[in-house]
């Protein structure tokens, strides 16, 4: 655990890419192979199942640190992270432990069948053997909140340097539902395309935004400069659903979501057409709720994802379909090296023969001759229940991760409204102990109605200013939430709006965020609930 905690600290302490890679390589060189696999699992989001719930964890931490519950909570609000709070509050460690990460992980997994008392004793003993740095990482793993400030790309780069394999191969071999207990480091870095897991998805190719900010529109001339001739590009609508990879191999089917979650059971409607596919077929696309040929608001899909069991009612209210847009494996062959156009041809062939064209759909290509024409077509995005347009270079192969150059997303402007900040709450992580999460309201007559929460979009300097404002203008405190003197006006952007019975305002926004601070607007000039409601029906939601 010491080596792992040191790695974590080293990564945490530097912003420099080459130092991060160096720390990762040092780690790979010094730990046993099984530790490497556990580390890779943790760094790629494969945390072990949580064996001690948050309530137990808090309670036992309070006991071990001998402080009252309220003081624990106060501390937590200042630190903004449970694992860190506990690491700081516990008394100094009594002795030290030389257990490896693998040994610790085995102990954590073995907690599964233990009675509560034994879990508590184990936890208390473990804390006493770990220093502050180790404890923090240990707590993070234990509470299932382990995240690290390093991209998977860097881990893969370090691993590529150490093993001599190329990064794309490693990325691919780290996909899927492997477990550190069953996947050997030897298998991972073996130079042959050794033992393959039939469920393993390909790394997704992700698009780059054409414009980083939504305030300035790209002109057709700028697109010409950025992308070259329109004729080299294929355009499709950008669908707002769940990015997914659908696999049929060895008679089995697998549905992976973008977050690398295996979600096969969540989408039974898609199974029949997948069963019809020949073995060795992998398709990339978007899962959307569809009814009568039209996409439904994302909110409907979202409620479905949250369910443990899919009742008949849920399936009827939000049936899903796949809008396919790429084919990655055909007839058992990895065809990512083929051009966009070639892959598209194979995908169309596959889709044309399906007996289920209503659920196995294809993302239609948009016909256009010039960037100017496409700019105009893009204006219809909302009517198409799309988020904008996707641009794919016709001769590009399917790449790994987010790459500039061949896939671009060209989103439409968000809807926006000027609103008054009414509540503030402290953030987490880097923004712990700063008021960074705000609730916004619009006018309903002479009252302000809260309608959205947003916590991104301001610069650090602006956050500091708002934080100072909140502290000086608090009207009331409710736990961590402060009611603030209504004064500051912000322009809030959002992707869609829907009626909601759960919100006081009667509406729910999709992706609300702060576009800018309207220093120029007094609070009386903020928008009204009527203005907000006028957006209803302007999808996509």
């Amino acid at each position: 655990m010491k080596a792992f905690a040191q790695l974590f600290t080293a990564l945490d302490e530097t912003n420099k890419t080459n130092e991060k890679v160096k720390a990762l390589k040092d780690y790979f060189m010094r730990v046993p192979d099984t530790d490497k696999m556990h580390m890779l699992a943790l760094f790629t989001g494969r945390s072990p199942k949580r064996q001690i719930n948050a309530t137990q964890f808090r309670l036992w931490a309070m006991e071990a640190s001998h402080i009252p519950a309220w003081l624990f909570e106060e501390s937590y609000h200042v630190v903004g992270d449970l694992a860190e709070t506990v690491a700081l509050l516990l008394p100094d460690h009594e002795y030290s432990s030389s257990k490896t990460l693998t040994e610790w992980m085995a102990e954590i997994v073995a907690l599964n069948n233990l009675p509560e008392v034994e879990k508590r004793d184990w936890l208390t003993r473990s804390w006493a053997a770990l220093d502050r740095q180790e404890r923090f990482v240990f707590n993070k793993i234990l509470t299932g909140s382990f995240r690290v400030g390093v991209s998977q790309n860097l881990v893969i780069k370090a691993l590529a340097d150490v093993s001599g394999l190329d990064a794309a191969t490693i990325t691919h071999r780290l996909m899927g539902n492997w477990m550190p207990a069953t996947y050997q480091f030897e298998e991972l870095v073996h130079t042959d395309t050794a033992i393959e897991d039939v469920s393993r998805p390909y790394p997704f190719f992700l698009a780059y935004p054409v414009q980083e900010t939504s305030t300035v529109q790209k002109t057709p001339e700028e697109l010409q400069n950025l992308l070259g001739d329109a004729g080299e590009w294929q355009a499709e609508w950008k669908w707002d659903g769940i990015r997914a990879q659908l696999i049929k191999r060895d008679g089995q089917i697998f549905i992976w979501s973008r977050g690398e979650d295996l979600a096969t059971d969540k989408f039974p409607e898609l199974h029949p057409f997948m069963q019809q596919w020949p073995d060795g077929t992998v398709v990339d696309g978007e899962i959307l709720s569809f009814k009568e040929g039209l996409p439904l608001p994302f909110a409907i899909l979202q409620t479905r994802i949250g369910r443990k069991t899919l009742t008949k009612k849920v399936l009827e209210e939000g049936p899903v379909a796949l809008i396919a847009y790429d084919c990655l494996e055909y007839d058992g062959e990895d065809i990512r090296y083929k051009t966009q156009t070639e892959r598209r041809g194979l995908l169309e062939g596959l889709q044309h023969t399906t007996p289920y064209p209503e659920v196995f759909r294809i993302s239609e290509l948009i016909e256009f001759d010039s960037w100017a024409q496409l700019s105009q077509i893009r204006e219809q995005s909302r009517a198409m229940v799309a988020e904008g347009i996707m641009l794919k270079r016709k001769n590009a192969h399917y790449q790994v991760g987010r790459r500039r150059g061949d896939w671009w997303k060209w989103k439409i402007d968000p809807l926006s409204i000027d609103a008054v900040m009414v509540y503030a709450q402290k953030g987490h992580g880097r923004r712990a102990d700063l008021y960074t999460d705000y609730t916004f309201a619009v006018w309903d007559g002479d009252k302000l109605v809260p309608f959205a929460k947003a916590y991104s979009g301001l610069t650090d300097t602006e956050i500091n200013k708002v934080d100072a404002f909140v502290k000086r203008n608090t009207l009331e405190k409710f736990g961590p939430v402060r009611t603030v003197k209504p004064e500051l006006v912000f322009e809030i952007g959002f992707e869609g709006i829907q009626k909601s019975t759960r919100h006081k305002s009667g509406v729910a926004l999709r992706f609300p965020r702060i576009l800018r601070w309207r220093h120029d607007k007094p609070k009386d000039e903020a928008d009204t609930i009527e203005t907000l409601k006028a957006f209803l029906g302007e999808g996509p939601i």
Binding site: P68, L71, E74, V79, E84, F136, R431, D460, N464, K471
Partner: protein, 375 residues
């Protein structure tokens, strides 16, 4: 007759009506007793100042040569209108004092800022028995627990050495009065020379005029070469972070010394290469033990996590109260304190009358720069 408390909290500062003097007032008054020379405690514009001997030169440097200043030794008694004033070491920075006020057998002590660990630079903190103790609690939450400074400076020196090996310049950042001297006295001169930012060197010079022995330092001027600096270490004030002055040392590794570095979030906001948890304030255990050692009947908490600390003290049997002051701007990079009014110092409170403090100076960094500095 209405019996006024010996010390009271007014909108100008802590006031002794009987003795007609204030302690660390933030509005101009006739008689100001000063705990220490940090800008949130020693304001300009008072008619007469009373402070410890070792604060003399720094106060004159910061507030002007012409201030009317009387200085005393620790333990020395001064009478003002029948009230006895004496000073005891606070262990915060050189010249820092707790102010003991006594009248008719009633004793009050104002801690100013303090720490209980002996830092080897200033006179160590000494608990003073009293009936009423007015304490700071900048780090009054149990998440703040300092390591012994020897461990910390081993880390600092090892980091410096490692930078030298990699050909990187080393910049260590700490407040110009207190932290800077504590750092420089603990640097391993075997590694190389110590270079200082002008604001820090001005403070060092003031302290040397006051008879304080400090390790040799070299002021960075236009003439100081980058190569020379790379073989040593630079001590800079927080206000220098992210400025062209600092960028010219590139490539460098930059370490930030502050108690707030105990929190990962604050550390990440600072974007320093290394965060060293070094504070001139007492940690949680230090505060509790210091308050306990006074044997006081009542505790008043002036700045820091006053609400939670007061509640905790009450639960363990003290009669503790929050009071409202304008202190608490000096621990640089401080997350603003969770008092309802959030009274950080704002521009209006900042005295820049003293022209010797350059605009890029390190004096008020904690007050005006709340985490905005990034490289």
């Amino acid at each position: 007759m209405f019996n006024k408390p010996l010390l009271e909290f007014t909108d100008k500062g802590i006031y002794c009506a009987k003795g007609k003097f204030y302690i660390d007032p933030w509005q101009p008054v006739d008689d100001a007793v000063i705990t220490h020379a940090h800008s949130d405690h020693a304001y300009a514009g008072h008619k007469r100042y009373l402070a410890h001997h070792l604060s003399r030169e720094v106060l004159k440097y910061r507030l002007g040569e012409d201030i009317r200043l009387q200085t005393v030794e620790y333990g020395e008694k001064v009478m003002k209108n029948g009230v006895e004033i004496s000073m005891f070491p606070a262990g915060h920075v050189i010249g820092s004092a707790q102010i003991r006020v006594e009248s008719q057998g009633e004793v009050w002590v104002v801690s100013g800022d303090y720490k209980v660990e002996d830092d080897g630079v200033c006179t160590p903190f000494e608990p003073v028995s009293c009936h009423h103790f007015i304490s700071e609690c900048t780090f009054g939450l149990p998440i703040y627990k300092w390591k012994p400074q020897v461990d910390l400076f081993n880390e600092v020196n090892a980091w410096w050495k490692n930078n030298l090996a990699q050909g990187l310049a080393t910049v260590i950042v700490g407040y110009s009065l207190g932290k800077a001297q504590r750092i420089l006295q603990n640097l391993d001169l075997g590694n190389g020379k110590i270079y200082t930012h002008g604001v820090i060197e001005n403070t060092n010079e003031a302290l040397r005029r006051n008879g304080i022995q400090l390790q040799p330092t070299k002021r960075i001027t236009q003439a100081t070469s980058k190569e020379e600096i790379r073989k040593g270490i630079v001590i800079a004030p927080p206000s220098a972070v992210g400025t062209p002055w600092m960028r010219k040392f590139q490539p460098y590794s930059f370490g930030y010394c502050s108690g707030w570095m105990a929190l990962r979030g604050a550390k990440r906001r600072r974007a320093a290469d290394r965060g060293f948890i070094l504070s001139d304030h007492a940690d949680w255990d230090g505060l509790v033990s210091a308050i306990d050692a006074t044997g006081c009947e009542k505790v008043y908490l002036t700045h820091g996590y006053t609400a939670s600390f007061a509640r905790y003290l009450t639960e363990i049997g003290f009669d503790a109260h929050e009071v409202h002051t304008l202190y608490g701007g000096e621990e640089e990079g401080a997350p603003p304190q969770p008092s309802p009014e959030g009274r950080e110092l704002d521009d209006a409170n900042i005295n820049i009358a003293n022209q010797k403090v350059s605009p890029s100076g390190g004096d008020l960094e904690g007050a005006v720069d709340l985490g905005g500095a990034t490289i």
